[in-house]
Symmetry: C2
Subunit: 371 residues, 2 copies
């Protein structure tokens, strides 16, 4: 299949540090190429990809030192380049929320849009109502909750390449927290869990400017003078295996409707179980008692963290390979693409059962029918 | 003429406090109504307008307490409502930068877009090249500098209603600074000018979160312990006349390509001269030696501030009324609208010289010709 992947331009594909959407686009694109598809990636020039790259900007926006930039303009320019070539592709797969809708109305049945963010936002309902002809993919069933009326075609959970992570048959006995220091990620709960158990917690986390006050007033005072807590700042991809693989469990004590939560499957890839609060996507990602524990209260979380070592780390990695590898994700997307192309009214190569006549044809016809 | 005005949705129309674009849209809209036009304003429901209001959102975005909002979605929903009614209007006048281009390609010759912001930004050139069929208005000639190739139709300087400001025949002897505390506004220069002259400076300014460090490290130390400087924080519209009218001069020591600079004409409306650094729009707005002084160095600024009292305050107000009233602005826009509607290839009421046949028609025709 000829597939175009259209990524947001905020981070490189894959991102150098933090950044979920561009990371998933990177791995989906490579996995589709590995499955034999003809994939074109529209992205900034700093992308690393197995696909044909169309560089639409010299570099990703967030780390671009240019003093004045327009993210809207950058995306509009990219989309106009995609539009000029729309005819070349069987499927145009957007990861850019909604901005492509006005430009691609003519091509809507050839497009698929994966929504990567939270959807409980004012204003967006009107957009998905107005442009309801565009098929959407959710990254968890729970993500759909605020927009039940939207044109959902499938849920496709994220996947990551298994070989990016080293399986770790046993832990070094600490708990891990990995993410941003922000109120909805509840690093305070992670600290409380470890403290109540008298166990070590390593925190690899970045502090955004927006969360500075939360860090200074709430989290830093909980860490200072607490010998159990080790704060190591933001880490890169190459450090994740060691950090997650060494953990007895990943603590994922979130308090917001997380649409997916990549770090859960990253931990699973290392064989590390996840203690997750039941919230957002976590019940879809974690299999309670197999790849981790789902909890509702801090007390349950403490008890679950204490039992984490009883779970089978090899089985956890096996579940990752089956459900959350990049190949598993790409296969599910190929299924969705196949549904789309088969349904398209003027598809060049319709499936055999679509052109099968309802009744046997008795006589040969004369108007350009072949065979 | 039937005119639609399309405003950004960040601030109320007019804004309750800070906010330039929505303020200009408010006064342009009212002035067009006063000139007898049939004007429809697409804006949030908190607008106050003489035009027919189409409320596209319950309130403006910035002060909306909803925890999660999408400005992109809000604008897309508004634009889709405008599109549904495009046929009703002779002119659709956008103040929303570029986001309307993809949706209004079919109607481009019926639209006008005023660009309100700085244009020396990476990424935007590609957009104005790609959608070059959309006619643009600059708010100063200088603003065009980074995009000389764009489809400029006119420069229309901003205007404000004269009756919003009380003319003040004499000052209270202080200098005024009004705006944001940010490096490109150069409040430090204003403080230096006043200090060198041993004269009082009143500063009415807000401090955005982004400028907190600049305020704490650079400006606050210059103010503290300096008996000449009085910092009074952000002020509302109703306080501006007293604040600006009481000043011997407004200090406008900017260091960035200000596309217009509303505060200059607000001061002029009060009869107050402006000491402006030659930068961005200031040479177009200030008439050197009449409505203020244009300077290039701090020394010139000090000398000019010292001479400000020699300028004729009544003459300054008269220049405001002539050049920068809301009515003056609306009249210039009506001229631009008239150019557009006359040039439109399928205008309902073409000008006589457009339909005049090149040669006299000798014989009556038969294929549906009338007359």
């Amino acid at each position: 299949m000829k597939i175009a992947q259209i990524t947001p331009l905020y981070e490189a594909v894959p991102p150098r540090l933090y950044g979920g959407t561009e990371r998933v686009v990177a791995h989906l694109t490579d996995a589709l190429v590995d499955l034999g598809h003809d994939v074109t990636l529209f992205a900034s020039a700093d992308a690393h990809t197995k696909a044909r790259l169309v560089p639409v900007r010299d570099q990703a926006i967030r780390l671009d030192p240019a003093p004045f930039k327009s993210d809207l303009a950058a995306h509009m320019v990219m989309l106009s380049q995609v539009l000029d070539r729309a005819e070349e592709f069987d499927v145009i797969h957007f990861h850019t929320d909604m901005i492509q809708f006005p430009m691609f109305e003519r091509w809507a049945d050839r497009t698929l849009t994966t929504l990567h963010g939270r959807l409980d936002m004012k204003d967006i309902g009107g957009v998905y109502e107005r442009w309801s002809q565009f098929g959407l993919v959710s990254i968890s069933d729970d993500q759909r909750r605020p927009l039940p009326f939207a044109n959902w075609r499938a849920t496709v959970h994220h996947g990551m390449p298994g070989d990016l992570y080293t399986f770790s048959p046993q832990s070094d006995g600490y708990f891990a927290f990995l993410g941003r220091i922000s109120p909805e990620k509840r690093p305070d709960r992670a600290i409380e869990i470890a403290t109540k158990l008298g166990r070590r917690l390593k925190m690899a986390a970045k502090v955004d400017a927006a969360d500075k006050v939360y860090w200074e007033t709430k989290i830093k005072p909980m860490i200072e003078g607490n010998p159990l807590i080790e704060f190591i700042g933001e880490i890169g991809d190459h450090q994740k295996s060691a950090f997650l693989g060494g953990a007895e469990a990943l603590l994922f004590p979130i308090d917001w409707p997380e649409p997916f939560g990549l770090v859960m499957i990253e931990a699973m890839a290392c064989g590390t179980p996840v203690i997750a609060f039941r919230c957002g996507s976590t019940p879809e990602v974690i299999e309670d008692g197999a790849t981790g524990f789902l909890v509702d209260t801090l007390e349950q979380a403490v008890a679950a963290a204490d039992r984490a070592r009883t779970l089978d780390r090899e089985a956890i990695r096996a579940r990752f390979d089956l459900r959350f590898s990049a190949t598993a994700m790409a296969r599910r997307y190929v299924d969705v693409y196949a549904d789309m192309t088969a349904k398209r009214p003027f598809a060049e190569a319709p499936l055999a059962d679509v052109v099968m006549p309802l009744r046997p044809i008795e006589e040969p016809r004369s108007f350009g029918m072949v065979g």
